[in-house]
């Protein structure tokens, strides 16, 4: 696809959770919990509030079409602020400091006074019905040339458990939202910029890691299309695919529009009850429905069933709108007869609505109220098809296709959080913040100064343990030993089912220092970690796993082993060093350094020859 001709424009919003000690507006820890550990559940309704102008935000209005009781899980690590039962605490200064540090890293200008706002969100993900958010810095630039428009500090929403049930552990964790200008013109550029910003954020060493801790929203349009915001792309690897699929969706919708306009297509205002037509139907869904409604889309035949993204049709888009009324979905004549509906039934239906070859009939089966609501939504979406691409907020599906979520919200959904006082930010404070080294610079330094292999240096620099690595090296441990232990040994033990999370950074440092000063052989490291993971302290673990062995003892072990293999040694000569070495190592089990053993062994074998 020629994106330049299409006029592709894309911008991204990156949401990154911060690894602060406390949440943004309360003093609870920023830990995620297992839902089995919940100690309370409660439920609430939310309703959109009317603005002073008498308007309800269009996105909020749509969420309110069905009033649902939202259930929340609470924990001994959540408090009344997350429950929306207590006013917020002042803005967490640690989170603000970190946000300002990130702003400096992108050359942004901090605002002089931070105002916390409430952004209306009534899908249940915030107990209050709004998300607290504050604009912290403006107008930055990345080395690659992408402009950064703004950096906001926000509270994370509650995590959806399923349906309308949410878990409160995540609510209130601080996150930064970084918004780029719509400067990207190819899917690959979008991915590159997202990757760079992700690297930059991780360079602080103070962001959360793991799936869901960073999410990208992508804003995409083509010249003839419209701005569409795709929420929550969690995997960087999919981001360019999302852009590609959205661009092709917009191209296909524009083509459908042109075709519909050419056919002089229109949407019937009138809907019809057709329940009686399906009294004897073989379709289980239609048979048990209290009410079946239908609407005719004139000139739409073939378009409703046409694929616009892998696995998605114009009919799927209409179905997304209909589902807002609480119905399960719809049937359309582009895909019928199927699902137990016979060709005769389709014919009867079409003639009842006066539908011809060029027309498409949509069916919805549910209660009368829901079905009529859904048909109105379908008519609305069908009218939009005559316009082309509707402005929308969409959610990502697996593989990178998307589904309709809600309309793009307006600025009217934002109003001040009157319970949090504005926070002044002095230019001197911002200038005094320490800007961390970028991970890419770290990687280069590991190669240049420590002589690490480039691939290992990269892996290490981007790992969560890079801080530990630097501390250990700084304390005098050789970089290669430190890197191997931190990246490989601990991971292998973990794979073997050892509880390595019980091995603290201090333990790793202590063990490596013992190795470095020669009192423990590096072969003993895994066994020592095993013992520490089992609850021993490092001292006791070293004593039990690798009590020091004297040179005399070692020599006597070597001599005993050699005395049992005199013939082999005589026969093989110095070539016997390797095989015998393995036997000795097994015997001393890490109580002596390998090099020392090898030196002694060589000397003894030479003596025998």
């Amino acid at each position: 696809m020629d994106y330049e001709t299409l006029g592709l424009k894309a911008g991204i919003e990156i949401h990154q959770q911060l690894d602060t000690r406390e949440k943004l507006f309360c003093h609870c820890p920023t830990v995620l919990r297992d839902i089995g550990e919940r100690n309370e559940e409660f439920f609430r309704y939310l309703r959109a509030t009317v603005s002073e102008m008498g308007e309800i935000d269009r996105a909020a209005r749509e969420e309110m079409m069905v009033m649902r009781p939202f259930t929340y899980y609470a924990y001994d690590t959540t408090c009344l602020v997350e429950h929306d039962e207590e006013p917020p605490a002042p803005l967490n200064p640690e989170a603000l400091e970190l946000a300002l540090t990130m702003a400096r890293m992108m050359g942004m200008t901090a605002v002089e006074q931070v105002h916390v706002m409430r952004k209306l969100v009534i899908d249940g993900s915030n107990t209050s019905g709004f998300q607290r958010t504050a604009l912290v810095a403006l107008n930055g630039m990345l080395p690659a040339g992408a402009r950064i428009e703004s950096l906001c500090l926000e509270e994370e929403a509650a995590q959806r458990v399923e349906g309308v049930t949410f878990s409160l552990d995540r609510l209130g964790i601080p996150l930064v939202e970084i918004t780029t200008a719509p400067d990207m013109h190819t899917p690959e550029q979008v991915r590159e910029v997202a990757a760079y910003i992700g690297m930059l954020l991780r360079s602080t060493g103070r962001v959360k890691r793991g799936l869901g801790t960073i999410r990208q929203d992508v804003n995409i349009s083509i010249r003839e299309g419209a701005r569409v915001e795709i929420k929550g792309v969690q995997e960087l690897a999919l981001i360019d695919e999302v852009v590609r699929r959205e661009a092709s969706r917009q191209v296909n919708l524009v083509a459908i529009r042109d075709e519909l306009l050419g056919r002089n297509a229109s949407i019937d205002e009138q809907t019809h009850e057709v329940t009686a037509l399906f009294a004897e139907t073989g379709s289980a869904i239609l048979k048990r429905a209290k009410y079946i409604g239908a609407v005719c889309l004139r000139g739409f035949a073939g378009c409703v069933g046409r694929e616009i993204q892998p696995g998605r049709r114009l009919g799927s888009e209409m179905s997304d709108y209909a589902k807002k009324c609480g119905v399960g979905g719809l049937f359309h004549t582009d895909e019928l007869p199927a699902y137990g509906v016979t060709a005769e039934e389709v014919d009867t239906l079409k003639s009842a609505l006066g539908a011809g070859e060029e027309d498409c009939v949509i069916l919805v089966a549910d209660t009368k109220k829901k079905a009529l609501c859904a048909l109105a939504q379908i008519q609305r979406r069908a009218r939009m098809a005559l316009e082309g691409v509707p402005e929308e907020t969409r959610k990502m599906l697996e593989e990178g296709s998307t589904a309709y979520m809600r309309p793009l919200p307006g600025a009217a959904r934002m109003y001040p959080e009157t319970d949090v006082l504005p926070v002044p930010v002095s230019p001197g404070y911002v200038a005094g913040l320490c800007v961390p080294e970028l991970l890419t610079a770290k990687e280069d330094r590991f190669v240049a100064e420590m002589g690490l292999d480039p691939a290992l240096a990269h892996q290490l620099a981007f790992s969560a343990q890079v801080g530990l690595f630097e501390d250990v090296v700084c304390a005098g441990v050789k970089p290669n030993l430190a890197a191997r232990t931190i990246l490989a040994t601990l991971r292998e033990l973990s794979r073997d089912g050892v509880a390595v999370e019980a091995v603290g950074d201090d333990d790793v440092l202590a063990v490596l220092l013992e190795v470095e000063n020669g009192s423990v052989a590096k072969e003993a490291i895994p066994d020592i970690f095993r013992a520490v993971a089992g609850g021993m302290n490092v001292r006791a673990a070293v004593e039990s796993v690798a009590p020091g062995i004297s040179e005399d003892e070692l020599l006597s072990i070597i001599r005993t082993i050699l005395s049992e293999r005199v013939d082999f040694v005589q026969e093989q000569g110095m070539r016997s060093v390797g095989p015998v070495m393995g036997v000795v190592m097994k015997e001393v089990r890490g109580r002596a350094d390998g090099k020392k053993i090898s030196d002694l062994l060589k000397k003894e074998i030479q003596g025998m020859l």
Binding site: R47, V50, D84, E85, E112, H115, P422
Partner: protein
């Protein structure tokens, strides 16, 4: 540059770029500007330049359509959180609202009843006073005389229990008089105003015949509790279910969203009687919380008062040091009533020596009354009579269910 007023369109030079926005106000020496994204920021006032005058805000008014076949309720508004509004442009929370706004703010009220509405006051509830209590009792009395099925009083939650107790004593009502408030502001989608408002209307059309407070029963949006106006207290600064009944179970519940009302056997039922108003209150009454180490000299502050309620320890005690001062007050004609900081349970000053000494000093036992209810009741009793024996008799008699003869177990 012309003087900036709220709503003025301004250009704002900042971060090397010029953005447009709406000037809102000055705060801490900074100009607050709403950017077109909806975000507010604070900037140096000198970085702003004038672009255009603000557009006048269209007045927001929705006609309230009433269903004439429904019973009539009266809404009397005194202020508070329940129907407060936020100005989206300036961010200011406005406390000026009409009771009609409540009908707009709480969709669904119109399905329960038709309403007449009156703004009696627009105050924060800590500014409530005796004069407004009297106006309130008179307004409720008038509306009941004029035939409404029930009255809803919207009120700030902090002193709502005091006002409910005051109206309980000042008014003998044959129909429900329901106090309601909200703990979470009305501008948030999670506000309890809608549920509390609908439940209060359901309670006001129910078979109840006394003064009550209707608020969330739990943190869930599942039911409101109906509390007797003389037995209720705000027990949490911020939770939805802050209001609790003392010494008795709530009078009933209103389920949500069904709005089914269930009344307990204790609830006084609706009657055909005419209401009776007793709107005199003695204002020279004090309420004193005793604490260990209290300086008895503090009692002199209440010299000249006609009444004093002491919130004592345990069964109803003060330190022995206080007794002489209390005797001086009673000798000078001040009625002193003893209640307990325990809130649950009944005062008994006949168990320990200090209590007996307090009784000998002329103190009246406040039975199981909450201290603030005893305070309101004493104001009312002293407003009805000057006769010492009659005062003592009235204080010892439950007049509006403010205490029972027997302490209920299990509470």
């Amino acid at each position: 540059m012309p003087h900036l007023t709220s709503g003025t369109r301004v250009a704002c030079s900042f971060a090397g770029i010029t953005t447009e926005g709406t000037y809102i106000t000055d705060r801490d020496g900074m100009a607050v500007v709403k950017l077109d994204s909806g975000y507010n920021i604070g900037v140096a006032p000198e970085s702003l330049s004038f672009l255009a005058k603000g557009e006048a805000q269209p007045a927001f008014h929705t006609e309230v359509v009433q269903n004439p076949s429904l019973p009539e309720l009266s809404i009397i508004s005194t202020g508070g959180t329940i129907a407060s509004r936020v100005d989206y442009r300036t961010g200011a929370v406005t406390s000026q609202f009409t009771a009609e706004d409540i009908l707009n703010a709480i969709p669904g009220l119109g399905d329960i009843a038709r309403f007449r509405a009156e703004v009696l006051a627009t105050i924060l509830s800590e500014n409530m006073n005796v004069s407004i209590w009297k106006d309130l009792a008179r307004a409720v009395y008038r509306d009941i005389r004029e035939g409404v099925e029930g009255v809803i009083v919207t009120h700030g939650t902090d002193t709502m229990a005091y006002s409910a107790a005051a109206v309980s004593f000042m008014l003998e009502t044959p129909v429900p008089v329901v106090f309601v408030g909200s703990q979470r502001s009305a501008d948030r989608p999670s506000s309890d105003n809608v549920m509390n408002g609908l439940c209060s209307a359901a309670a006001a059309t129910s078979d109840l015949g006394e003064v009550a407070v209707v608020m969330h029963a739990s943190t869930n949006d599942d039911a409101c509790a109906i509390h007797r106006g003389t037995r209720v207290r705000k027990m949490h600064t911020s939770r939805r279910d802050a209001f609790r009944s003392f010494g008795m179970s709530p009078l009933g519940t209103v389920q949500y969203p069904s709005l089914d009302v269930t009344l307990s056997a204790d609830a006084v039922r609706r009657r055909d009687d005419e209401p009776v108003l007793h709107d005199t209150l003695e204002e020279k009454v004090g309420l004193l919380t005793f604490y260990p180490g209290m300086d008895p000299a503090l009692l002199s502050a209440f010299e000249g008062c006609r009444g004093l309620v002491v919130s004592g320890t345990g069964l109803g005690h003060t330190s022995a040091d206080m007794i002489a001062g209390i005797r001086e007050l009673t000798d000078a004609g001040t009625t002193v009533v003893m209640t307990s900081q325990c809130l649950n349970g009944r005062v008994c000053d006949r168990v320990y020596d200090t209590g007996r000494d307090l009784l000998a000093a002329g103190v009246i036992e406040g039975e199981e009354m909450l201290p603030e209810v005893a305070y309101v009741k004493l104001m009312w009793v002293l407003g009805q009579t000057n006769d010492a024996e009659e005062i003592r008799r009235l204080m010892a008699t439950p007049l509006r269910g403010e205490f029972g003869r027997c302490s209920v177990h299990g509470l």
